[in-house]
Symmetry: D2
Subunit: 313 residues, 4 copies
């Protein structure tokens, strides 16, 4: 059933997600601080709002997709923000990855206004956003989620209820701890292996059947090793180093508030920070390998042997 949706935040992720909502037959009024982004949506049938408040007015559902906690706070609670326009009974769905404490603070304000809120961060990257195949991790009331399932289904194929408000963010951050450390470990394992003479195809083949197997293995930054690795496209993201750095920072902060040290995560966080400082922040996470490599060598650029060469006897 088509819904009236307000959409705030038309970035790399938000724009293709909004397009998919339009395609699914929903009516959209969207706002972005950059008018050029809003026009890109207008081209395919979306209406343009003059503010976050304006986007929220008259909407059954308001979706926010913003870079960080402070943007969500400002866009929802700030002057001219969503809260000023949000109808009682409407639902705010924040799909940004932010810290769960902010989520709970925003939800309290939304509830006070007589409206409802879900947190619904995603994984799957720009490609998942375009194809509508995101995984969506939802926190909040299960009934509210059920009423909005058709809306979310326009953007993602795997919609999981993770618990009460804030738990979507929590599960997302737990996933980032694993993905973020794994990417660094892939870089280190392949650097060591290749440097000691191993064929990267053997490394991929053996490890993917062993205790070291992980999703990020197929992002190993060796040109031509897998089709999907960002290294084949000059590290065009995918998922950016700077965003992984931000997400791991959120996980560390959340854990710290619970008196929980996360030592390995802290070091991965620092390594992404160093990678960013060395100029790789807007590249794909797999470019963290470039930090390890240093500027003067082409460890990863070594093309694998031609296909004819036998790898396994």
């Amino acid at each position: 059933m088509a819904k009236r949706i307000g959409f705030v935040g038309l970035g790399t992720m938000g724009l293709p997600m909004a397009r998919n909502l339009l395609r699914a037959g929903h009516r959209l009024r969207a706002f972005d601080l950059d008018p050029a982004r809003a026009r890109m949506l207008a081209d395919v049938g979306g209406a343009t709002a003059s503010s976050a408040c304006d986007a929220a007015r008259g909407a059954e559902v308001v979706i926010t997709m913003l870079p960080a906690s402070r943007h969500v706070e400002e866009a929802v609670l700030g002057s001219g923000g969503v809260l000023e326009g949000l109808e009682p009974g409407a639902t705010l769905v924040d799909m940004s990855t932010i810290d769960p404490a902010t989520t709970r603070r925003v939800e309290a304000a939304v509830r006070e206004r007589g409206a409802r809120m879900l947190d619904a961060p995603v994984s799957g990257g720009a490609i998942g956003a375009e194809r509508g195949t995101l995984t969506i991790m939802v926190g909040g009331d299960a009934e509210v989620l059920d009423q909005l399932r058709d809306v979310l289904a326009a953007m993602g194929t795997n919609i999981v209820h993770c618990g009460p408000i804030g738990l979507g963010e929590t599960v997302k951050l737990a996933n980032q701890i694993l993905g973020g450390t794994a990417m660094v470990a892939v870089a280190e394992a392949f650097a060591m292996g290749i440097r000691m003479g191993a064929d990267p195809r053997v490394l991929l083949n053996v490890i993917s059947q062993s205790t070291g197997n992980c999703w990020m293995l197929r992002q190993a930054p060796v040109p031509g090793l897998t089709e999907e690795a960002a290294v084949n496209r000059d590290f065009a993201p995918g998922f950016m180093v700077d965003l992984m750095h931000k997400d791991l920072g959120l996980a560390l902060q959340a854990a710290d508030e619970h008196g929980l040290p996360l030592t390995l995560t802290a070091v991965a966080h620092q390594l992404y920070g160093l990678a960013s400082r060395h100029g790789y922040g807007r590249l794909d996470v797999s470019a963290v390998a470039r930090l390890l490599e240093g500027p003067g060598e082409l460890l990863w650029g070594r093309p694998p042997a031609p296909p004819g060469r036998p790898v396994r006897p």
Copy 2:
């Protein structure tokens, strides 16, 4: 075709591997510093050797399965060692996980004697050793491997040629970098998630479909979460903290000799070292979570909710 095999090192891994060789019809003469271990093999039909040299004499294949580089050096090159008994034309198969530089040094001595050598470290743990389902990573001449494939097939189901001598060890260490860091990351991700209110079954379910998925996820130390996790058996290994600590140390040393820093691996190595110091060294790797937890709490001991409770709407 049944072979005459000398076997040196009847520890937790070596003994079940030797038994599988007997079951497959090979003839064995085995040596262990601890005579009690040799008797355990004699009970099922193996002959007992009085030294490593004695085990090697007359054998077509000599297998060594020892804890660390220095044990291999001593058992092969030392006085009363394999080398003194090794027949020209015989093959030494070292299945220990040691540093590849030692492997190459030993191989040179073996070659000088007119014999041959493969390095063939395994993954799969004590259970894989018992069931004969190990993964065996082989370095050395492909033809030599082909001649011994039936011997290795008695112990493992996945036999991979990784390249010239030493490359079996190298690929094994690359795998350990990934598995070793992943186990710590699993502990950190679940600690954070559970502490913030997430249901561990939701964490497992969502992450196993996302970018954070990894083999070690199913070893998450939450009682009852998966059947195979060592936490359900008081952290009985599986694969010990102390061995993971040793293997990551080998990876770091090998990389350092190539001028390659492995920062994340180094920190995981230290955390396993701390876990060992705090008394968890002979427990399963997943007990590294106990270090994170501290002594005064039962984060991981919290039983998950009864099966009836709906996790996903």
Copy 3:
């Protein structure tokens, strides 16, 4: 010249600081959430305020000495807070160690009210607070500082102007980076040295004349090695593990906001966090050595050889 001073926060540091102000002849009205603390000051001549606002009313100077950023925000900007009672022309001196961004936010609110603010965190610990020998690092207008120099001189002997508002906090955090990492390094250096047979007195003697010399060296946790080390008093602080953990967290957060990774500091931060989790949080920073040691040994408890034994030939 005696001044009318409002004082908020009578903890381990605040109470002796307030006493020193009374001794120097200033008039005090003090507030603490715990009435028992206020009574301890009343015993020596201080007046008791019913709230932070009440303490501020009529005061020329208001001093806050609180655990963390959120306490300062609440005590100053919150309902019943300092700001409601602060006289135009009065000066707020925040002597807490908090993040410089909070300092600037609070200062803006104070300025808007027509009052003035300095940030003036201290170093020197509980002993320095009692003896009035603190180092006080001051951010804000130099003229304002000059007018209050006699007030600060009652609490500290080393008063340094560090720059505009927030710079007192910044310099304090930079100092904590060095002191916090040094304490861990002292623990590691002595653990290694002692374990390998070195006499701790030789370690202290040689290193204090070499490139490894640092202030924290004299806090090496070897009983009897120096008189001042907290290990001699069952690790009674001194400066607590939990406070060092908090301060390093502030430094990391501040640096992160400037896109600056601090990898070594991040690991020290984690180690203090682990030490806290293992039950050492309210002990002196030097107790971080207990984490390294593990529960089952008495590395640090080994008494040094009797004084008669010659250490140097």
Copy 4:
């Protein structure tokens, strides 16, 4: 009393040390793999040996000053090495920084030959070597040291007996743990402080009077801040990043053999390794700050304000 000295290893440290021995009136026969180095000594009166063995023949004292454990093993125990020429009753003084286990292995061989050995690593860098002001940390028999005190006094002003054989190395490594971590911490503290607006002179002034004070503070890589900092000479060492990386690696290995994790040291070791990979290996240790900085900025290059500007009111 003048002695007949054999000297092996005329590198950056060894050559000026040998010169100082000549100046003090000792007779020298020296060997270096690079004949050009030996000629540089011949110019000032040293005799040239054709091998390490040749240098040892007829000498009362043989001094070795070599880069790493394997060079010492080779130069002493190898074919044509010191041991072949060493006279019974002579003393080998190894002044290299190597791992204490190697020291003990070499000492056992020397003792078997009827000769004696001291380990005597130094601190003080190339400048200390030239000026003869090194600190010399001596392990071995105290009486042997007393007999050679005049020889050592030609090279260093601070000669400390640290205990039995190997303890000189041990104490040296303990010092490196502190100096090596401190240098990284100095870089991080100044980076954070300067980035947040602090005047580097205030940082130096305040911290040098506080708990963060350390020897390395005066090596803070801010041009013009202190006279002695290597940053003023384009990071010409001083003490090289690569040597600090080596020494911290030795400390980690030694501790590991005693089951002792050194987590902070391990991370400092990795950061020097990364700095080396990024091209700073042969610069002064303070160049580790360049890694933190990244290639695109000139944080450290910002000249401090002209001397006229008031730093403290």
